[in-house]
Structures are given as C-alpha cells and as structure tokens.
C-alpha cells in the first residue's frame, strides 16, 4: 500500500468491481430461475385446474408451453417425489409438480429443484423460448432482468420505462378505468384493464373488479339472447349470446389472474361463485373452483359457499361432511345446523327415490316388498326431518312428499296443487317443482299451462344454436330426454 | 532543536491544461523557522503565502523540494500534526454548534477526550478570552469572536507551532489589539508562530523575523532590525512653494506628506542632518519639528515589491 498506492488501489477497485459484476451475473441467474419458477407455477396451475389457454386454438399452436412443461414434469417427477417424502400424495391424474405447487408447503423443495443443475438444459430452453416469444404463460414484463435484447421484440421491456415503478403506473391506469366506468365508457375499460394487469400481474383487485365489471355491470343492460340466435363457440363449448360472451371474457380474465396468482383464494372464489354459480349456473365448475379456493387461506364464507354449491350439484354427502366441519369450527352456527338437517332430509329423500326405482325395476315380489318398505322408511325419515325443521323450505319439501304420495295413488290433480303451493312457499325450489308438475300433468293427462308449454319450447330450442356441431346437439338432446324421464 | 520548520528548494507549479500556461506559485523556497520566534510571512495577494502554508500542512503537495517539520519528513504523521495548530484565513465554523462544542470536535480529532479535553477547552477559551461565550451558539458570534474561536481550535492540542493565515484581517481595531496581545502571550509561552499577513503594521509590532514573498520568490528574509536599516530625518514645516520644493528635492529633500497646513519633508540618508537644516533655513521655511525616522515595514515592502517588479520587467 505504502509503496505502490496506485497499483494497490487499482487492484482493490478491480476486485470490488469483479465481485459486483460476479454478483450481478449471479442475480441474473437467480432472476432467471425465478422467472422459470413463475412460468412453471402458471403452467402448473393450468394443468392442475385443467384451464384452457387464453387464446384460441389456432393461435395456441404458436406456443410451446405444453411440450416444455411436460419435459419439466418428466425431469422433476422422481426427484420431487423423493424430496417430498411419503406423506405427499399427488391427486389422480396430476403431476407431483403441479400438485406440490398448490400451496407454500413445498416451495423450498420446488425452488431447489428449479435451480438445480439437472434442470439447467430445460432452463436454457425456457429462456430461449421466452426470448423468442414462444411461451404463452409468462409475466413478460416482470422479467426485466432477463428480457433485454429480445430479437424482434421491443427489446428493453416496458418495465424499464417506468424505472421499476410499473406498479404505480398500473395504479394510475386503474384510476382511469374507474373513471371510464363512471362515465359509462365500457368499451374503453377493457383494453385498459388488460394493460393494467400486464403492468402489474399481481394486481389481484384489478382482476377481481375487472371481472366483476365485465360479468355483472357490463351485461346488466343487455337483453337475453334466445338460443337460436346464439352462436356456438368451440373454445368454450357453449352457445354464446351477447351477455354470455362477456361472461366468458370475465372468466378468461379471472383465469389469467389465477395463472399469475395461483395462491389467491379470491380469484378462485369469484370465478366459482361469482361467474360459474351465479351467472352460468354451472354448479360443477362452481364446485371445482370453490374447492380450490377453500384449500387456500381464505375467509370463512368461502367453504360455506362451497358446501352450498356441493348441495346444488347433488353431492349431499360431501356437503354434509363440510357443514359438520364448519360446525366444529363455529359451534352453534345456525346456518350449519340448518344445512345439516336439510342435507339429511335430502339424502333420505334421495335414498327413498333410489329404493323406489329399484323396487320398480325388480321382478322378485319379496325383494320389491322389502325395497318398498325401505322406501317408505326413508320417506318417513325425510318427512320427520322436514316437519321438525319448521321453515318454508322444509314445508315445501314436505309438500313434495305429499304430492308424490298422491301421485302414486293416481291423484295427479291434487299432487299438482301440492307442488304448486310448495313452489311458492320456497322460491329456490321453483324450477325443480315446476319440472315435477309438468311430469305429473303429463302422467295424469292434464293440460299444460301456457307458461309450462313455453318452458318446454324453450328447452327444445336450448339444444341448438348457430354453428353447433351435430355431435354436441345429439348429446344435448339426450341430456334433455334424461331430464324429462319420469321420476315417480 | 534549533529549527522547527525547514524547507529546501520548495516549489509548486500548478500545471495548466494549456501548454505554457503553468503557474509557478512558489519557486525554490528555502526557509527555516526557529523555535520560539514569531515569523511574519509577508507578500501581496497571490504571492504564494497560502501555497506555502498549505504545503506545510499537507493540503497540497510540492512539485519539488522538501519539507521538514520538527525534524520529520513525514509531515502527515500524527507526531507532527499534534504539534501544529492552524488557523486558516476566513474559515467558517458551523454556526449550529456552541463554542465549546466546536472545540470538543476538534479536540476529539486529536484523540483527546474525557476530563482532559474539558479542562483543555476551558484553558483555551480562557487564553483567547472567550470563556463568557462558551455556551453560546456560533450563530451569535461577532467576527472577532469567530476568529478567536478559530484560534482556540488551533490551540486545542497545545501545539508547539502555530500557523496563522491572516489572523487579523477584517477585525476592528480593538479586536486587532486583543489578537495581537494573545499572539504575544503565546510567544511568551515559548510557542513558534508563523503569521502570514499583509497587515504590515500589525506584524511589525510583534514579529521577530520577516520574510517577504513576491511572485513565488522569497525576496527578503531577516529580523526586523536587519531589514529596516534605513534611518533618516523627517522635518515638519509650515509650507513651501513648488519652486522651493523642486530645488530642495534636487538636494535630496523630498516632500512626503501635506496635511492641515503642515508639510513633512523627508531627508535622504545621504544628506547630513545639519546640511538639511541649513538648506531649510536658506529657503526661509518655518520649522515646526525635526525628528529622526526609521523606515517602516510598509515602505520596505513596497520597495521590495517595486524592485522585484522592475527586475521582472527587465
């Protein structure tokens, strides 16, 4: 130092700069690993939830996410299972990777794996494909550190233009979205909403509110589109009218949100409850997404909505189990208590119906007698529960049992009047009871009312729309027949 | 030790980025300062005084030549630094601090601390006559008080050598007098003082030895007595006509000053006093007083600078 100060200083400076440069490269590798992990999480979520891509089939051919992801799954499966130990069980048909990604518990193990030398070639492929724009599920703008120098792209990402304050920009865009909403410029909101989440893919509230605007507010002023005027859309496997097309835009928006934030229950909840249950009346999908929502850290109403949807989807036992759990956590919770009773009643009713159907099918007299007494016992049990519950819904269910009893005796007109009383007693049963009324009226040769005739016509119409493939149409016709089959 | 500061061939050239524009701030300075003396370092602005002092303190680095302080070549060493107190010209002292806080900070830089430092602060404040203001914020200090606090910080480590750059500039007459007294007291304590100044009257009053610097070169060096050897006569008369004055000046008597109906004549040392008086009588001048006169430092200074200017012109 004393003898050659300049040389010493130069050496120290060189050393410090080298460490800095080295650290910089190291950070680049870490950011790359993070980007890889984020992408795996997005595609893994896709796999786990069976989501569709957000682009149409013809466009999805341009992307290579799936092939790369399956390579990653193959490369990681054995190691990951070994690392996670025996307690870890992947769900049927799911890769260990996508399953492990669901919650935080296995994050460390996955990250280790993603960083490991074993996955280096795949990581390289990922970066190459990312830079070539061949990956669909990437939060491109977040990857500033590794996005530079993309061939044929805008090169330096938008990220840099905001000096790392992308999120602030996203907020200001959101303020503008809000402003458009209040001035009724709905068509201007949509591109801005998309820009907003492009800038900040973790802006969960933008997804939620955006989807809410699309699914609820935008569609509120639109008219119902009759089925013959709707158009078949392959991607959604559904006939879309004006409103429905917005429902699906909303659903896609939420699914994008889920891919980018797979661990936020709100997105699953809004998708399952807000869109599938409330708007599309698709209880199966509602159950699916509410199940995922309930697995993540959530608010207390999430599982309750799940149990409700399970009930609506006919999964009484699961719903019952759920309400019992809820009661354990919140003793004396009145809704739980009521729901448990209701489900017990419904199960008894279903058992009764099954026993009766079997009795009808059998030829053995003794067996039929046994089944019929079983049926009566279940019916009595159900009736007991309904009477005990003493509320409009239960009263209506009891009326249904009465109606069936009358119908069995051939007293169809009486049966219909019981059901008619019942469906006004409990509005939630209107559709179910109306179907039964039509069935009884047909069985008894009674004339259908004008509205009932209309309903049947609508149902007939509902099996087809513009551009619907023949195979789908046939399926739907079969479904409708199944629904109209006599139950009593 | 016979010498506290010694420079040999000390030169400083400020290189310019333009060829031939280099500034020779100091050229071949050979200087020795002895213990216990007050050395006055004189020179007009830009003559190289501050450059020399900065080199002595290691604030700038010599282009050529050597410096030895207290016999040591490493002038940045703690041993040297502990024995030098420095009062820069026109320095600012943070005005959010109190008098004693400033001194505490500087004392801490010497590695002082605790009780020892506190006693020393009191001593130094006493020495510069600032005890009354020790708890006051510097914001409320007058210029003289600030200068005294500056002197106090230079004294805090009780150094052997004090280097003071323009210590009395900008002070009122009373403050100057007080400063002068402090400096004299310090000399009496056995400290070595190097004072750079152009307040010549001040310096003349207290200094033992003088160096006159001009254009980076030491023009004169010696004790006051050695340098101011010129002695002559000054004659005060009531008045004299221009004609008479021109005749007298041919003989060696020059008019020097005209004030309040008096005229002061200066008699060149070549002329005998008696002859001069005779000449006055011949021209019928009314004498008011006759007094012997020694050349002032100012005159020496002006003369030296004038000579140097002539030399450089030639």
């Amino acid at each position: 130092m004393k003898k050659h100060p300049n040389i010493t200083l130069a050496l120290i400076l060189l050393l410090a700069l080298s460490i800095g440069s080295f650290q910089g490269r190291r950070l680049d590798r870490l950011f790359e690993a993070q980007a890889f992990l984020q992408w795996i999480a997005s595609v893994g979520t896709n796999e786990r939830l069976g989501l569709d891509g957000s682009v149409g089939a013809d466009e999805s051919e341009k992307y290579e996410d799936d092939t790369l992801y399956s390579d990653v799954v193959v490369a990681t499966e054995a190691t990951l299972l070994a690392q996670l130990g025996d307690d870890f069980v992947a769900e049927e048909g799911h890769s260990a990777l996508s399953q492990a990604l669901e919650n935080r518990t296995h994050d460390a193990a996955i990250y280790r794996l993603v960083k490991s030398a074993k996955l280096a070639p795949l990581r390289g492929q990922f970066l190459e494909k990312l830079r070539a724009g061949k990956l669909e599920y990437t939060q491109e703008l977040s990857y500033a550190a590794i996005m530079s120098g993309l061939e044929g792209k805008g090169s330096v990402s938008i990220f840099n233009l905001f000096f790392g304050f992308r999120k602030v920009a996203a907020n200001f865009i959101w303020l503008q979205v809000d402003r458009y909403w209040h001035s009724g410029l709905l068509h201007r909101m949509i591109p801005l909403m998309k820009t907003c989440v492009l800038l900040d893919p973790n802006f969960v509230d933008a997804y939620l509110l955006g989807a809410w605007h699309l699914g609820y507010n935008v569609t509120a002023s639109m008219d119902y589109t009759p089925y013959p005027l709707r158009t078949w859309v392959d991607k959604y496997q559904d006939c879309l009218g004006e409103q429905e097309s917005y429902y699906y835009i909303s659903i896609d928006f939420l699914k994008d949100g889920i891919r980018n934030n797979p661990r936020n229950y709100k997105l699953y909840f809004d998708l399952g409850f807000g869109m599938y249950r409330e708007k599309l009346e698709d209880t199966e999908n509602a159950v699916k997404y509410l199940t995922y929502a309930a697995r993540l850290p959530h608010e207390r109403w999430v599982p309750r909505m799940l149990y409700k949807s399970l009930e609506e989807n006919g999964e009484y036992e699961k719903a019952l189990e759920g309400w019992h759990l809820n009661l354990e956590r919140f003793p004396e919770h009145s809704v739980s208590l009521r729901s448990i009773k209701r489900l017990k009643g419904l199960i008894a009713e279903r058992n009764a119906g099954e026993a009766k159907a079997k009795a009808k099918a059998t030829t053995d007299v003794a067996e039929r007698e046994a089944l019929m007494s079983e049926y009566r016992a279940f019916a009595a049990e159900a009736r007991e529960i309904w009477v005990e519950m003493d509320e409009p819904y239960a009263a209506a269910r009891a009326l249904r049992l009465d109606a069936i009893e009358r119908a069995e005796k051939g007293l169809y007109l009486e049966a219909v009047s019981y059901l008619d009383k019942g469906r006004f007693e409990a509005g939630s049963l209107f559709v179910e009871f109306s179907d039964l009324i039509i069935e009884f009226k047909n069985a008894g040769g009674l004339p259908l009312s004008l509205s009932e005739q209309k309903q049947l016509i609508r149902e007939e119409e509902g099996v087809s729309c513009v551009g619907m493939p023949e195979s789908v149409r046939e399926e739907r016709v079969a479904e409708l027949r199944e629904r109209r089959k006599p139950t009593i | 030790m016979s010498v506290v500061i010694e420079t040999k061939g000390l030169s400083k050239i400020y290189e310019s980025s333009f060829r031939g524009q280099d500034v020779h701030a100091l050229t071949d300075l050979d200087l020795t300062i002895k213990p216990g003396e007050i050395f006055a370092y004189l020179g007009p602005n830009g003559s190289g005084k501050t450059t020399t002092i900065k080199m002595l303190l290691g604030l700038i680095f010599p282009t050529k030549g050597s410096i030895e302080i207290l016999g040591l070549k490493d002038i940045a060493s703690a041993k040297v630094r502990k024995n030098i107190g420095y009062l820069p010209e026109g320095a600012y002292y943070p005005d959010f601090l109190r008098g004693e806080e400033i001194l505490r900070f500087y004392g801490q830089l010497y590695g002082l601390g605790g009780k020892k430092l506190e006693t020393r602060i009191s001593e130094v404040l006493e020495e510069v006559g600032m005890t009354h203001a020790r708890k006051r914020l510097l914001r409320g200090y007058s210029k003289g008080m600030r200068q005294r606090i500056g002197l106090a910080q230079a004294l805090i480590s009780d150094p052997q050598i004090l280097i003071l750059d323009e210590p009395t500039t900008g002070l009122d007459p009373i403050a100057r007098k007080e400063m002068r007294d402090i400096l004299a007291r310090l000399r009496d304590q056995g400290k070595t003082l190097m004072i750079s100044s152009h307040e010549l009257l001040e310096v003349e009053l207290i200094s033992d030895r003088v160096g006159i610097l001009y254009q980076g070169k030491l023009q004169k060096l010696g004790t006051i007595d050695e340098l101011l050897t010129d002695r002559d006569l000054s004659i005060e008369v009531e008045s004299a006509s221009e004609e008479v004055l021109s005749t007298l000046s041919e003989k060696g008597i020059t008019a020097e000053d005209r004030a309040g109906g008096k005229l002061t004549l200066r008699v060149a040392s070549t002329l005998n006093s008696y002859d001069a008086l005779t000449l006055c009588k011949e021209h019928q001048l009314n004498l008011i007083s006759v007094a012997p006169r020694r050349e002032t430092l100012e005159e020496l200074f002006v003369r030296t600078v004038g000579e140097a200017q002539d030399r450089s012109k030639a």
Partner: protein, 283 residues
Amino acid sequence: MSAAVDYLRGPWHIAVFTWREGIRKKTLVGFLLLSLFVIFGSFFMSSFLNQTTGSGQIETEIDTKLIKDICVATISIFGMLITIFISASVVPNEVENKVIYTVLSKPVRRMQYLLGKFVGIQMIVLANLMLMTLLFLIAIYIRQGEFPKLLLWSALLTYFEFLVVSAFTFAISCSASSAVLPTIGGLFIYLTGNLTEYLKDVSNRSEGTELADVTIGRIADGLYYILPNLQKFSIKTEILGLSSGAPLPPEVAEQIPNLIAYGLAYAVSGYVIAYWIFRRKEL
C-alpha cells in the same frame, strides 16, 4: 484491535459532525417535507377513487395497494434525491467553507476523513429512509390496522440502492469544487444505473461484421458487465405484492442477501474511486 479502534475514532467523530450538520440542511428538510406530503397525499388519491366508486368494501384493498405503491415510489425517488444532494455536497461544501483545512491539519489522514464523511452521509440517508418508512408504516397502519412487515425488506433493499448511488456520487464530489456538478452527476448515475439494460440491447443489436459495429458492441457489453444495474433492486416493489403474513418465498429470500452483496461491492468500488481521487487532491 485497539489500533483499529484508534484508527476509527477520528472517522467516527467526523461522521457524527457530518450528521449533525447534514440534518440541518434546508434542501434535505424540504425534500423530506415534500415526500411526507406525497405519502399522506396518497390518501387523497385513494379517497378520490372511493368517492367515484361508492362501493366501499371491495375498493379498500385497492386503496391500500395504491398507497403502498405510491409510497414506495415516493420513498425511492425522494430518498434518492436526498441521497444525491447530500452525497454531492458534503465534501465540496467543506472545501468551500474551508472547514476541511482545519480538519485535515489535525492528525487525521485523508482516508479517515473520507471514511468519516461517507459514514456520516450514510447516517443521514439511513435516518431519512427510516423516518419516511416509519411514517409510511403509520400511514398504512391507519388505513389497514396492521403493520406491513414486508415493507421493511423493501426499505432495506432501497437503502442498498441508495448506497450504490451515494458512493459514486461521493466519488464525483471528491473531484469537484462545488456541489453542482456532483449533483448532476449523481442524477446521471441514477438514470443510467436504471438504463443499464439498454447496453445489453446495444450489444445485441450490433451484430454486424463491420469493425465499428463490433467495437461498439464489445464496449457496450463490457460496460454492461461492469456498471451497476439499479433495476436489479426493483424487487423492492415486487415484495410489497406478496402476502404479508407468510414468510418470504425462497426465491426472494435468496435474492435479498445477494442484492445486498451486490450493492456493497459497488459501494466499495465507488468509495475506492473516491479515495483514489481524494488521496492526492490539491485542496
């Protein structure tokens, strides 16, 4: 050991002195007030959102996000300005008012002096950052009723970003005689530090065979590897998006210490450059 303590005693007193002087600077207080104004002003921004929406419950979360993002940006920008102004002015100011003469004529080596000044600057910058973060925490607490702990990580990373800019600005300030040039230089460092990615772009684009192309590409590449990239610190804004209750995700937990090491390495480089300039500087 005691030699090291002795060596550091002087720098420590200088640091404390710098700190006491620095916190009284008017520009600093001004910036601080301005940033507080923005932090609490973000409340109004969100209430403006509330007013027009009317549906309270869902919006409160967006409010908080808005406040968080704006506050982190504010802390970042104003903190950076304060850092640059302080780092640029401490040494030149002392040269200008000649206090440096009185200090360097004491038994203080230039290395010690610079160390003291640099540490003093860091104390001011840190105090500022902590004050702003604290106020931000309070602002969020008023809004949300809980302290966002992740913000502390964010603040930590923000500091190391400041440290890099501070060190290089300090180096410039050591070569300058007034604070103007180093201030401009500091702003320049901040801007270019954020645009380092463009160098990579330049080197990628200059793939021609011509000598000029190749040379420019090489130079850009070299600079890209040497210069600090402040964008790397932008995970400070990403951290806030994470859920606050859970521990840090492993990838972020690994990035933080590496970023700190990165910042330190460049801070040391900046300081070495500063000393190199200052070592034989004519004062």
